[in-house]
Symmetry: C2
């Protein structure tokens, strides 16, 4: 059975899910930073997913990327599957702006994460859940996401 890695659970807030992937928000207010986690057990590489899941994944990735770019008027999407520390397959989607703290460098290790205030987190959740509003997106309960914050 699929279970979310505890480090992803700790570092992120659950936004909701699409058909294949859970969508998490990284607790770093420097950027709108989402993580897609295909809900399949024991997978650490994209090529380990079957072909249908791979096609669904790129569809979901593009859906999230395009909506993020529109919502936050971004300059570039940064999309990455790394997983050297947390091997459970998870794909970073970071909305980049020429004015952000790390531009033009990749975000990993660039600047210390910036905590969300409870209010900023609630606002971000609301923006994102509205950005993804379709019949395909099942939002998580925002009260639950804010519970431990």
């Amino acid at each position: 059975m699929f279970e979310l890695d505890y480090r992803l659970k700790n570092d992120c807030v659950d936004i909701g899910c699409l058909m294949l992937s859970r969508i998490l928000l990284m607790k770093d207010a420097n950027y709108p930073w989402l993580i897609l986690v295909p809900q399949r057990e024991g997978i650490s590489e994209v090529f380990q997913l079957d072909e249908d899941d791979q096609e669904q994944l790129i569809w979901e990735s593009s859906f999230v990327a395009e909506r993020l770019m529109k919502t936050y008027d971004g300059d570039k999407m940064n999309i990455a599957a790394l997983g050297n520390v947390v091997p459970q397959l998870h794909i970073h989607h970071v909305l980049r702006k020429k004015t952000d703290a790390a531009w033009p460098n990749p975000v990993w290790g660039a600047v210390p994460p910036k905590a969300y205030t409870r209010q900023a987190l609630a606002a971000r959740l609301d923006q994102l859940q509205r950005a993804f509003e379709t019949s395909l997106f099942k939002p998580s309960d925002p009260r639950k996401a804010l519970e431990n914050h």
Copy 2:
């Protein structure tokens, strides 16, 4: 008409192409580091490709990733579309080992690039072109790749 960005041309060696993407080898001997460039004009984001091209891209990405992992007995693939400096869509495929120079950090900015000797580059080209040998892969002329090295 599609034309490869001059910075990608300078930093890489042309290995060959698949149906959609050109495959480049980054001139950094620290890791087997390939870059896939979908040969479509004016594209900087995956979501700008049409749906067929997106499906082809994930197929080609997984083909390259799986063959790299097998050929070099890797510990993890790092796959990323960043493009903050070079906006032409290009997707990094870096074979990571627990013993490599940057592990477990992402490779960008981690350690200075290590030049290939002419001999090491010729060997790498040969390994890679054999790793990708299928009816779908059109290898570039290795003499041309080595010409300016």
